[in-house]
C-alpha cells in the first residue's frame, strides 16, 4: 500500500503588504481523514490556504503533496495534481445551471483546445453526454436533484455551498480543501454538511477544512492545527488542542467563533 | 531641440484633452469614446464661427457650445443608462461618437479645414526656434490646466468632484450633490475637448475624420497615466508627446504613432497599472 498522500507544508514564509502573514509554518496534513486549520481572524489561515492551492507563492518554503513539489505552480497545475479547493463565496459559473457546473468538472480538460470540437467531435459529444448523466447521478446521490436545472444565482446559501462542494468533488481530487464551508449556514445545514464531509473522507479523499465555527470543526476533524499571527502554535487531536494553554488563551472561554450564523 | 518644443506642444494639447477624458472616467466611470469627436467638433465650430464672428469670439462660442452639447448628452443619453454599467455607457459613447461624426459631416462637409491664423515667424529663444503663436498655445495650455487644478483643488465643487471620483457611493451617502458634480464634469470635459481640438487645429488642421484619430492618443495617455489623479494623466500626456516628437530625430516621422502605441504597449506590459497610478499590479494584470 502506498504511503498515504500527505500534504507537507515546509518552512513557509509569506509577507503580504508589509505584514508577515506566515512565519515558518510547518505542518503535515494526512492524506486520509479530516484535518482542520483554525485560528483567530488575521491568523493567516486564508493566506496559507491560498499558498497551498496556488493562489500565492511563498517567499520561502515548500509545499509538497504526495511527494510532488507544488511550490509556485500555477493554480491549474495544483488542481490537476489532485489538490482541489472550494471557494468561500460559492458563486460558481454564473452562466451555467447547477448540473452544467458539475458536468463541467466531470468532463475534464483534455478537450479544451480549439481543434477539439472539430477533430474530436464524436469524442467531445459523448464526453459531454456522459458528464451530464454523471452530474445528474451525483446530484441524485446527494439528494439534490431538484437543484439541477436551477441557475447558480437562484440558490439559497446552503444549497450553493453544497453545489460548490459537489462540483469540486466531481474533479476527483485526492485531497479537498474546504474554505469556510460552514459560513452563513444554519445548524441543520451544518449537520448535513458534516455528514457529507465525513462521506468524502470515507471515500478516501483527504480533507483540509478552515472555518471559524469551532464546534463544527472540532467535532469533525481527527487532527487540528492552530495558527496565530502567521505561526503554528499548536497541533494535535481536538481533545489535546482543547487542553492546550495557548489555544485556551486565544479562545477565551471558547466562545469566540463558536457561533453559527 | 525644436523637437522638444514640438513634443511639448503635442503633449500639452494631449494633456488638455486627456484631463477632460480622465475626469469623466474617474467620476462617471466609463471610457468616453466620443471625446475624440467632441475635440473635432470644437475645432470645426471654431473655424466656422471664427470666419463669421472673428477668431476670439469664434473660439469662445465653440467652447461654450461644445460644453453645452456635452452636458446635454450627459443628461439625456448617459444618465438614463448609468445603472446598466460601464460597458453600456462605453457603447452608448460609441454610438454618440457616430452621431457627432455624422453631425459634423452634415454641418461642415468632408473637407480639411485650416485656421486662417498666423502663428508668426519663428524666432530663436534660447535653444529653440519659437513662433509667437506657439508660445500662445503653450500658455493657453498652462492656463487651462492651471485653472483645472484650481477648480479641483480650491473650489467647493472641485472638492465634491474629487469626492465622487474617489468613492461615488460614499459621496452620495455623505450628501454630495451628485447631479451637480455630473453636470460640471460634463461641462468641463466638453470645454477641455473643444480647447484641445482648437489647439490642434491651429497648429495643423482638422477634418471631420480627425476625431477617430484623437481618441486613440487620448486613450493611450489616459491608460498610461493610470487611474489616479489628473496629474498622472497630464504627466503621461506630456511624456507621450515629447517621446513621440523626439523619436523623429532617430526614426522617420511616419513612425510617430507607432512610437506612441509602442510605448503604451511596452509600459503596460512592464507596469500594467500605468506609469503614475497607485493601483496594485494584481488589479490590472492577470
Amino acid at each position: 500500500m502506498n504511503p498515504p498522500r500527505e500534504l507537507k507544508v515546509i518552512d513557509v514564509n509569506k509577507t503580504f503588504g508589509g505584514v508577515q502573514a506566515l512565519r515558518n509554518v510547518n505542518m503535515t496534513i494526512s492524506g486520509t481523514g479530516i484535518t482542520a486549520l483554525i485560528g483567530p481572524n488575521g491568523a493567516g489561515k486564508t493566506t496559507l490556504f491560498n499558498v497551498i492551492s496556488g493562489f500565492g507563492t511563498p517567499y520561502t518554503g515548500r509545499i509538497i503533496f504526495d511527494g510532488q513539489d507544488l511550490t509556485g505552480l500555477p493554480v491549474h497545475k495544483v488542481a490537476r495534481a489532485g489538490l482541489v479547493r472550494t471557494f468561500q463565496t460559492p458563486v460558481g459559473i454564473s452562466s451555467m445551471t447547477v448540473v452544467e457546473n458539475i458536468a463541467l468538472a466531470i468532463a475534464g480538460s483534455d478537450l479544451d483546445y480549439p481543434w477539439s470540437p472539430f477533430l474530436f467531435w464524436r469524442k467531445d459529444r459523448s464526453r459531454r453526454k456522459l458528464a451530464h448523466d454523471a452530474a445528474w447521478t451525483q446530484l441524485e446521490q446527494a439528494d439534490a436533484a431538484q437543484l439541477g436545472n436551477r441557475a447558480m444565482s437562484d440558490l439559497s446559501p446552503g444549497d450553493a455551498k453544497l453545489v460548490e462542494i459537489l462540483r469540486q468533488l466531481a474533479l476527483s481530487p485526492r485531497m479537498l480543501l474546504l474554505d469556510e464551508p460552514a459560513a452563513a449556514m444554519t445548524v441543520n445545514q451544518i449537520d448535513t454538511l458534516s455528514g457529507i464531509i465525513r462521506d468524502i473522507a470515507q471515500r478516501g479523499v483527504g480533507v483540509l477544512v478552515i472555518d471559524h465555527n469551532l464546534s463544527f470543526v472540532l467535532e469533525l476533524a481527527a487532527q487540528v492545527h492552530v495558527l496565530e499571527s502567521g505561526a503554528v502554535i499548536a497541533s494535535g487531536t481536538p481533545a489535546a488542542i482543547g487542553n492546550d494553554a495557548n489555544v485556551r488563551r486565544i479562545y477565551l472561554g471558547g466562545d469566540e467563533g463558536t457561533h453559527a450564523a | 531641440m525644436n523637437n522638444l518644443l514640438f513634443g511639448l506642444l503635442t503633449g500639452s494639447m494631449l494633456a488638455v484633452a486627456t484631463s477632460g477624458f480622465a475626469l469623466l472616467r474617474n467620476t462617471e466611470r466609463f471610457l468616453h469614446i466620443a471625446h475624440g469627436q467632441f475635440m473635432a467638433l470644437g475645432a470645426l465650430l471654431a473655424v466656422a464661427l471664427g470666419e463669421t464672428f472673428g477668431l476670439p469670439v469664434g473660439i469662445a462660442l465653440a467652447v461654450l457650445i461644445t460644453s453645452a452639447v456635452a452636458v446635454a448628452c450627459g443628461k439625456l443619453l448617459f444618465d438614463p443608462v448609468k445603472h446598466r454599467g460601464a460597458n453600456v455607457l462605453l457603447f452608448t459613447s460609441v454610438g454618440l461618437a457616430f452621431v457627432v461624426y455624422a453631425a459634423m459631416i452634415a454641418l461642415f462637409g468632408t473637407d480639411l479645414r485650416v485656421f486662417t491664423v498666423e502663428l508668426g515667424a519663428a524666432r530663436p529663444i534660447g535653444p529653440f526656434d519659437v513662433a509667437p503663436g506657439e508660445i500662445v498655445i503653450l500658455l493657453v495650455a498652462v492656463v487651462v490646466i492651471g485653472g483645472l487644478w484650481l477648480l479641483l483643488g480650491r473650489t467647493g465643487i472641485g472638492r465634491d468632484i474629487r469626492a465622487v471620483a474617489s468613492n461615488r457611493e460614499l459621496a452620495q451617502i455623505r450628501g454630495v450633490a451628485i447631479n451637480r458634480v455630473s453636470m460640471t464634469v460634463w461641462a468641463v470635459a466638453g470645454a477641455l475637448a473643444a480647447i484641445a481640438g482648437i489647439m490642434t487645429a491651429v497648429l495643423s488642421s482638422v477634418s471631420t475624420e480627425s476625431g477617430w484619430g484623437y481618441i486613440l492618443l487620448v486613450l493611450a495617455a489616459a491608460v498610461l497615466g493610470g487611474t489616479g489623479n489628473i496629474l498622472g494623466v497630464i504627466a503621461a500626456a506630456l511624456v507621450l508627446g515629447i517621446v513621440m516628437d523626439m523619436s523623429s530625430l532617430v526614426i522617420d516621422t511616419a513612425y510617430r504613432p507607432i512610437v506612441a502605441f509602442g510605448i503604451l504597449i511596452g509600459v503596460l506590459l512592464i507596469r500594467p497599472q500605468g506609469l503614475f497610478s497607485f493601483q496594485s499590479r494584481k488589479e490590472a494584470a492577470a
Binding site: S53, P114, S116 | G95, P257
Partner: protein, 336 residues
C-alpha cells in the same frame, strides 16, 4: 431607382460584416476578451490575401498564388499575427486589454501605410483576384460573389456554433464568468484565451479579409480603421452579444439600414446630409438598443436555454432563466 446590383453589393457587404461580427462575438462575448483591434486583423487578412494572389507583374507585385491558396496563406499569416499580439496583450485585463488591442490595430494600419513598397501605401492595391471572376460576365459575377460570401458566412456560423456547444466553448465561458474558479478546476486560462484569439485571427485571414477585398474596388488602409471596429461592435451589440444568430442579425440589420439610407436620392445641396446618414443611423440604432433593449435583439441566455432543452432531463423541473453577462463586465474598475 434602386438597382439590383446595388442591393447585391450591399447584401454582400452585410454578410462580410456578419462574418466579422460572429468572430467578435466568439472572442468578446463567449471568451470575455473585449477586442478593439479586430479591424487590424481583418486588414492583415485582406492585405495578405491580395498580396499573395496578385500577379508578380502588377503595380505592387504579389506572389501570384491561386485564390484558394491565397485564402489559406492569409489565414495562417493572420493567425500568426493574432498569436503574436495576443500573447502579450492577454496578460492584461479589462480596459488595458482593450486599449492594447486598439493600439496594435493602429500600429498595423500605420505599418501598412508606411511600407508602401509592399502594400501600396495610401494609394492601395487595385488588382484584386476574385474567385471565378473570369468565368462569369460582369453582370453575373456579383451574384456569384454574393453566393460565395453567404456560403463563407454559413461556414463561419457553423464553426462558431460548434465551438459554442463544445467542451472547449464551455471552458471558455467558465473562464469568462469566474476566472479563479476555472483555474481551480484545472483550466488553463492562457491557452484557452490565446487559442481563441488565434482562431479568430485565422478566420479573419481565411474568410473575412479575402471576402472584404472582393467587394472593395481598391484595398486601402483607411478602410481598416477604428471606424470599422466600432461599426462591427455596434452590429454585435444591436444583434445581441453572446447569441449564435445575434451577430448575423445585427450586422445585416445595421448594414442594410445604413446603406439603404444612402439610396434615397437627394439633391446636391444636401450631399453632406447624405453622407452623414450612414453613421448617424449606426449611432442612433446603437444608442437606442442600449437604452431600451440592452441585451440586444437576441440574447445569450436565450441561445443557451434553447441548446439546454436538448439535454435536460425531461422529468425534472423546468429550467429557470440563467443570468448571463450579455454585456459582461470588462472590469473597468479592476476588481477581483
Amino acid at each position: 431607382m434602386i438597382s439590383i446590383e446595388f442591393l447585391v453589393t450591399i447584401a454582400t457587404l452585410a454578410f462580410v460584416f456578419a462574418m466579422a461580427a460572429q468572430l467578435l462575438n466568439l472572442e468578446a462575448a463567449w471568451g470575455g476578451m473585449w477586442d478593439l483591434g479586430i479591424a487590424g486583423l481583418i486588414g492583415v487578412g485582406a492585405y495578405s490575401y491580395v498580396l499573395l494572389t496578385s500577379s508578380p507583374d502588377a503595380a505592387v507585385p504579389g506572389a501570384g498564388l491561386s485564390w484558394p491558396l491565397g485564402m489559406l496563406g492569409a489565414g495562417l499569416i493572420t493567425a500568426a499575427v493574432a498569436a503574436l499580439i495576443g500573447w502579450p496583450a492577454l496578460r492584461l485585463r479589462g480596459e488595458y486589454f482593450l486599449i492594447t488591442t486598439f493600439a496594435f490595430a493602429e500600429i498595423l494600419r500605420q505599418i501598412i501605410i508606411i511600407r508602401r513598397d509592399i502594400t501600396g501605401g495610401t494609394f492601395g492595391l487595385t488588382s484584386i483576384v476574385k474567385p471565378f471572376e473570369s468565368q462569369f460576365t460582369i453582370d453575373g459575377y456579383p451574384y456569384v460573389r454574393l453566393g460565395l460570401t453567404v456560403l463563407l458566412t454559413v461556414i463561419v456560423w457553423m464553426v462558431c456554433s460548434r465551438i459554442a456547444t463544445s467542451s472547449y466553448g464551455a471552458s471558455l465561458r467558465a473562464a469568462r464568468d469566474n476566472e479563479p474558479l476555472a483555474m481551480a478546476m484545472g483550466k488553463r486560462i492562457n491557452v484557452l484565451r490565446l487559442s481563441t484569439y488565434a482562431t479568430v485571427g485565422l478566420m479573419c485571414g481565411l474568410f473575412v479579409g479575402p471576402a472584404y477585398s472582393w467587394i472593395l474596388g481598391a484595398l486601402v488602409p483607411s478602410v481598416f480603421s477604428s471606424h470599422l471596429t466600432f461599426t462591427l461592435w455596434a452590429g454585435l451589440v444591436i444583434g445581441g452579444l453572446g447569441s449564435r444568430f445575434g451577430p448575423i442579425v445585427g450586422a445585416l440589420l445595421l448594414t442594410g439600414a445604413s446603406e439603404l439610407v444612402r439610396l434615397v436620392h437627394v439633391p446636391d445641396q444636401f450631399a453632406d446630409l447624405h453622407a452623414a446618414a450612414h453613421p448617424a443611423l449606426v449611432g442612433v440604432l446603437l444608442i437606442a438598443v442600449l437604452r431600451w433593449r440592452p441585451d440586444g435583439l437576441l440574447t445569450e441566455s436565450g441561445t443557451f436555454a434553447r441548446l439546454r432543452r436538448r439535454h435536460s432531463r425531461p422529468d425534472t423541473a423546468r429550467a429557470t432563466p440563467v443570468s448571463t453577462p450579455t454585456v459582461p463586465r470588462i472590469a473597468h474598475e479592476p476588481s477581483a
